[in-house]
């Protein structure tokens, strides 16, 4: 299928894809696909496929396309053509090898960032099409190993990182203890029914970045917020099942998350600096469960920080001195329009702010989102070289003096970290919470 790129690409072997495909026959592929198309291939899929005028205007929206020397196989419509487009055209009569390629394309060459939706004259949602392809892959049992393992973790522990229930609570106790060394009166209120705010995070926070929970606790404490975190599953707002096409499991995760907040009779959910989790609670998981909007307000950290600074609940002792730039994460900018609020927070906390270009809704994706980074090491090189344009963008803003890149999203951090390292950009990454924690009055 993939003529221009194939010759140069190294062959990537992924156990999830290989072993899954080994169990398939062309006949089974056909049966499963036809069943899927009949059950879920609705008006959106049909209209998108039949309306696409093959004009190619979506191409330049995609960082994979630009970074791969404008190889058309990486354009949004090009990727649709090689995956779900062909499947619909042939009514599922495709080979097992085709499914392997389609799996790799849909899982590792599209971040579902929806930038191309803004470039298509019809507003065709390529992310929807790629997710449909991923859903078929899930139904066929052909999913990259690492992200499938994450989906398994979600299903078994209801969090992303195989964190056991005692480890989660222990982490909260530990962070509370650490923070009390700095602020003696601080508390991480666990299972406090009737608190105003239910604070939820993603699996990697207790696993790798526990200091973020510490920082959040310090900010909550200083702002005098009535908040709580649960001692049960439901604390993790992340959702890789949304990205593996396992929508039933996605729904289960969202149900547990929302119902835990409701069980504690909290009024709203404030979530840490994560993008995909916001997407899953704001306009994907909730819908699948039947909630038009989230059943209780979900506030992303950017919006929460904005409120705290606007209402003078936290005060900045001394502004952050090094010049900063800001990476707009797709799921909370194209997904929620939080870009101006983020800039408000930066202006309140940082001395010098330099915009990167393009920015706001038009910012380039980090290339980690959409579950791509979760597909793991086999695809790392492809992900990083597939986003050379991001490195160019960062280099340009670095030339203007920016030293720090603020990215209020975990996936963006992962993606940008790899890009900064690979292209030797020598820039430092921070969350907004890092900046606020560093600059705020803590007592």
């Amino acid at each position: 299928m993939k003529t221009p790129a194939e010759a140069t690409d190294e062959q990537i072997i992924d156990r999830g894809i290989e072993d899954g495909a080994a169990k398939l026959t062309q006949d089974k592929v056909k049966r499963v696909v036809q069943k899927m198309l009949a059950a879920e291939g609705g008006a959106r899929l049909k209209t998108y496929i039949e309306t696409c005028a093959h004009c190619g205007l979506c191409s330049e929206a995609c960082h994979f396309y630009i970074s791969n020397d404008k190889d058309p196989a990486y354009s949004p419509a090009g990727k649709i053509k090689q995956t779900i487009g062909e499947i619909v055209k042939k009514r599922g009569n495709v080979s097992v090898d085709f499914i392997k390629t389609a799996c790799e394309i849909s899982f590792t060459e599209c971040n579902l960032c929806r930038r191309c939706v803004m470039y298509c004259p019809f507003g065709i949602d390529a992310a929807y099409m790629m997710l449909f392809m991923r859903r078929i892959c899930h139904k066929l049992g052909v999913v990259p190993q690492y992200i499938q393992d994450t989906a398994h973790s979600h299903s078994a522990t209801l969090n992303q990182m195989w964190v056991k229930e005692d480890e989660w609570i222990d982490t909260l106790h530990w962070q509370e203890e650490e923070a009390r060394d700095e602020i003696p009166g601080l508390r991480i209120p666990i299972e406090k029914e009737g608190a105003d705010i239910f604070y939820s995070v993603i699996g990697p926070e207790p696993k790798f970045r526990a200091q973020l929970i510490y920082q959040a606790a310090v900010i909550m404490h200083a702002a005098g917020v009535d908040w709580t975190m649960p001692a049960t599953p439901g604390w993790d707002n992340s959702d890789m099942c949304m990205y593996t096409g396992d929508v039933e499991m996605m729904a289960r995760l969202k149900k547990v998350h929302f119902e835990t907040a409701m069980r504690l009779k909290t009024k709203r959910i404030v979530m840490g600096e994560c993008g995909h989790a916001f997407r899953s609670v704001h306009d994907v998981g909730n819908r699948y469960l039947g909630w038009k909007m989230a059943p209780l307000p979900v506030i992303h950290a950017i919006e929460f920080f904005y409120e705290l600074l606007r209402d003078r609940k936290i005060r900045i002792k001394k502004k952050f001195q090094k010049p900063v730039t800001f990476h707009d994460p797709c799921n909370i900018v194209r997904g929620r329009g939080l870009h101006e609020k983020a800039r408000y927070v930066i202006h309140q906390t940082c001395k010098a702010f330099i915009e990167m270009h393009p920015n706001r809704e038009h910012n380039y994706c980090c290339s980690a989102g959409g579950g791509v980074i979760n597909c793991g090491p086999p695809f790392r090189k492809k992900r990083v070289t597939g986003n050379r344009v991001k490195a160019d963008q960062l280099e340009a803003v670095k030339a203007k003096g920016a030293e720090i890149v603020i990215a209020p999203c975990h996936n963006c951090h992962g993606g940008l970290e790899d890009i900064i390292k690979h292209y030797e950009l020598g820039m430092e990454l921070k969350f907004l919470g890092d900046i606020i924690y560093e600059c705020m009055e803590k007592e």
Partner: protein
């Protein structure tokens, strides 16, 4: 055992503690908890630089601990908390720790009517449950979804019986999880198991499971239903005949299944949290008949009244003739009884509670930070800063109100018995 009939049901108000005073005394006072009979109130307090205790009605427990969390009252009106001493953990009831200590304890549960306590525990990286200080004989690689039987004497949980190496998706897909009842695992493993239910006689256990990546079903005592579904929610035993029902997803939407067979005609956008009337004759469940609309469906018939945001806490009256729930539209909560919503909306409502004769419904509510008890849509005009769910007297003619007051009772924990006639004036 403390029985509700033995509680002090004489009308009147008692001031049992001054929590503001506790704050002066201890410096560190966490949120208080009241006993079911309302005679006690307790909070975690700091008694020394590095040691914590629980203050009950103004008196600290004799024992203090390095850390205490999850303080709750059991149905027997004794306070229990999860406590730690020199990095080991256990349950302390009325200040007395259990004999067994563990590396961690969490998810403590009480029986509904008796004071038996079950908790999840971990020691030497083995996971198990402990009921009344008696640990399970078997430990597992992991444990979740702990459930206590109605009396609290038995416990069941989802357990991991085989190790899974990082990234070993093949091992996972062979099935590494099952349910253990009082420490004995079911014979077969599944990809996943989740919510567990006991029957009323505590002899049978049912759970939601996933058989492979795409097929879900219900397992009863280790035996899966013959039917497979694209998803299921928590099963419940019929209290009368012991059959098991669960919401299941089939082509066209969600519906109700009994012992694997579909029993409802409706296909809904969502269906969950079903409950039985006490005699097992009726089922009520939270349902979404239309995208973005929520209601209660009773025996396959949804109410005409719907809410936009969500519906929670369905409940039957003891005689099963009436049903109530909490519902939210555009961020404002109210209570609905038999398909009719109360007029007033609140910032939050707690589960509605029927009187024993089913004629009255009371609920704790909150509006602009003020807590009040509402009976049949009418407020009892006493404001509280903290409030617990109201309890009807066995005859249903009186109401027990427990809360921390405002204005003249600012910071004071008060217990009020009101005659219903008075509240409805």
């Amino acid at each position: 055992m403390s029985h509700i009939n033995d509680w002090d049901w004489n009308t009147g108000k008692k001031i049992l503690a001054d929590i503001n005073q506790w704050r002066k005394q201890f410096g560190w006072v966490e949120e208080p908890y009241a006993s079911p009979n309302g005679e006690s109130v307790a909070a975690i307090v700091k008694v020394d630089e590095m040691s914590f205790s629980v203050c009950e009605n103004g008196e600290a427990w004799d024992n203090s601990f390095d850390k205490i969390w999850f303080l709750r009252y059991g149905p027997d009106n004794r306070a229990a908390g999860l406590v730690s001493d020199t990095a080991m953990w256990t349950v302390a009831v009325s200040g007395e720790p259990w004999k067994n200590w563990f590396e961690f304890v969490w998810d403590a549960k009480f029986g509904i009517h008796e004071g038996h306590i079950t908790t999840a525990a971990q020691k030497n990286m083995e996971y198990f449950a402990v009921t009344d200080d008696q640990p399970w004989e078997n430990g597992f690689y992991n444990l979740s979804h702990l459930a206590a039987s109605p009396s609290g004497r038995s416990a069941a949980a989802v357990v991991q019986t085989k190790p899974i190496n990082e990234g070993d998706i093949a091992a996972f897909q062979k099935g590494c999880f099952t349910v253990a009842v009082n420490g004995s695992p079911w014979q077969h493993e599944f990809l996943n198991a989740w919510e567990i239910s006991f029957d009323s006689e505590e002899k049978h256990v049912a759970a939601e499971v996933r058989m492979n990546l795409n097929d879900y079903t219900i397992v009863v005592d280790g035996q899966p239903w013959n039917q497979r579904f694209s998803s299921v929610w928590q099963p419940v035993f019929n209290p009368a005949d012991g059959s098991v029902t669960a919401p299941v997803r089939v082509a066209g939407g969600w519906t109700m299944a009994r012992n694997g067979e579909i029993i409802w005609n409706s296909r809904l956008l969502q269906l969950w949290h079903h409950i039985y009337s006490m005699n097992g004759s009726r089922i009520a469940a939270v349902a979404s008949p239309k995208f973005g609309r929520w209601t209660l469906a009773i025996d396959d018939v949804p109410w005409a009244l719907t809410f936009k945001d969500l519906v929670t806490d369905p409940v039957f009256s003891p005689d099963g003739r009436h049903a109530a729930c909490a519902g939210k539209t555009d961020g404002k909560w109210t209570v609905a009884v038999d398909g009719i919503a109360w007029n007033e909306a609140y910032d939050m409502v707690w589960p509605p509670i029927f009187s024993p004769d089913g004629k009255n419904v009371a609920a704790k509510t909150e509006k602009n930070g003020i807590y009040r008890i509402i009976v049949n849509g009418q407020p009892i005009k006493i404001d509280f800063k903290t409030l617990w769910n109201p309890i009807f007297s066995p005859k249903g003619d009186k109401l027990l109100i427990r809360g921390v007051g405002t204005v003249e009772d600012e910071g004071k924990y008060i217990r009020i018995i009101m005659s219903l006639a008075e509240t409805l004036k």
